[in-house]
Amino acid sequence: MTARLAWRNIWRNPTRSLVVMVAIMLGIYAAMFMSGFATGMARSYVNNAIRTMVGHIQVHVPAYQEEARSAYFLPSPADLAAFAKKQEGLAGYSLRTQVTGMAASSHGNRGVQIRGVDPQQEGSVTDLDDLVADGDFFGETRRNQILIGRKMAENLKVDLRSKVVLTFQDLSGTITAGAFRVTGIFESGNTGFDEGIVLVRQSDLNRLLLPADSILPDSLSMPDSRVIAHEMTLLLDDPGQLDTIQEAFQAAFPGLLVENYKELAPDLRLYESQIQNISIIYLAIILLALVFGIINTMLMAVLERIKELGMLMAVGMNKGKVFSMIVLETLFLTLIGAPIGILLGHLTITYFGRVGIDLSAFSTAMQEYGLSEQLFLELEPVVYYQIPIGVLITAVLAALYPAWKAIRLRPVVAIHKI
């Protein structure tokens, strides 16, 4: 009976009830959209970093992570490659040679990280092959090709076919230089990457690092297959297998440092950990605002029914039942609006999660922050649990004061209210 009374009571003033339901619906929709937007941005940042730079897992010699010297190369890249090929759940791996040096054109020079890659391997762990705006991704067979970012091309005032000279220390400590021809200009969507990293073929870089007639210093031993690689980057099919694969590599190569992207780039860990917090904060702010709206409505509903509530208590409806009735009225109001909001939010997130939102109007700013121009909305599954729980807590909180007001009424006074 209490539930039936509560249900009918909310339809006494349909306009007012509908306004509250729509407010709750829109509030939840807005919370979901904003969470989806923020999660999409965070995910875009993390994914861009993974797909252009970090990968999911990297393997180095421990000393390399302390100081990125060219002498700290992987001792057995062939073994690593063989292990990676046998490992299930890997989308690809890339053995990279990395040195720090100077890139110079006839117009200027810039400090750069020179990344020597096997184009096929690199294409399997990064999207760089798709991000080449001018030229191609090592499409030609001739030696000493270089791919640079758009920003770097602007800084050095070079274009396709231009010559760029790379200068760096070889493994014997001698300063060496090589002339490279620009065959591709990429736009990764990340300004820092575009102006700081250049890509060359690993074989070209290795030739300069370790000339054929050179002898390694005593402190260094020749790696197997004579391939100098400082880093192995792994991309997984399923990021959920991150820990398993990381542990497998670490177990197989105990002398090497196997780190995942969260360990390699703390900013990515921060972004990922904040995805959850962002959703909770948005939801909390909106629900807090809704609490006051609902309190206002329910208080009005109680105050205009003082006489009736007095009568109910006079004829024997105890305070617990009166309290429950007001709480139920609030729950009904809330629980009608909430599912509609959740459904609309879910449909919106699903739609824009598939087609994305075009933010190319803000492309400069987006790139500065390492974000894509196309933003795909995304919501952590746990948010779908958090919202109903949050709404339920909101409804109960919002009901408490009006319900308390109702049971504080003295029937003898209330029934004589005009």
């Binding site: 009976m1 009374l5 006489k307 006079a314 004829v315 024997g316 409806m317 305070k319 039942k321 003898v412």
Partner: protein, 233 residues
Amino acid sequence: MAVITTRGITKTYNPDTIPVHALNGVDLDIEKGEFTAIVGPSGSGKTTLLNIIGGLDRPSEGKVIVGGQPIEELSENKLIDFRKDHIGFVFQAYNLIPVLTALENVEFVMLLQKRPAAERRERAMELLRAVGLEDKVNKRPSELSGGQQQRVAVARALAPKPTFILADEPTANLDSTSTAQLLDIMAELNHRESVTFLFSTHDQRVIDRARRIVTLVDGRIDEDVQQSQPATS
């Protein structure tokens, strides 16, 4: 044994500021099956006395014993339960639950008493027939006239089989025809169900039908008379 006994009831409002003495020592015994009117000018304390007897208000001093239970000893929640099981109320402004039908209104208190559904339905239908509203069972209060609403209120008050019914100015908002109908119904139910009725009223038509008339003046019983031949419609 009296159904209602009051001894030395006083009620003072605003005792700390400007005291208003609404009742000044009321001793009253109401026997089972009485049809009693409490009359008196405005401000004489009729409604206050009814509120105290009905457990809606507490006396400043004195005792109220209903069916052998001193009700001032009951906590607020116990008092609500006591009202539910022992007292039926008929209010001046009908005070039906607007979102429930006539039938549901009559069933309401029985529902609070957790009576079985079939028993509730049967009793409610029987009472609505008795008050001549068997064709209005599914109407909401807004679809009924004032007289019809007050008849539903009487049916609701009787439904839980209370020890007595308190009616505060039950005819104040009714026209002559409705008043006559209501009084006939209440007299009939008083006779048939042996339920005690206690009214407060100004209405001469009600006073004429009462078998006992208690007159209050300035919060005291001024006169208490039995009418040997109450009027009939």
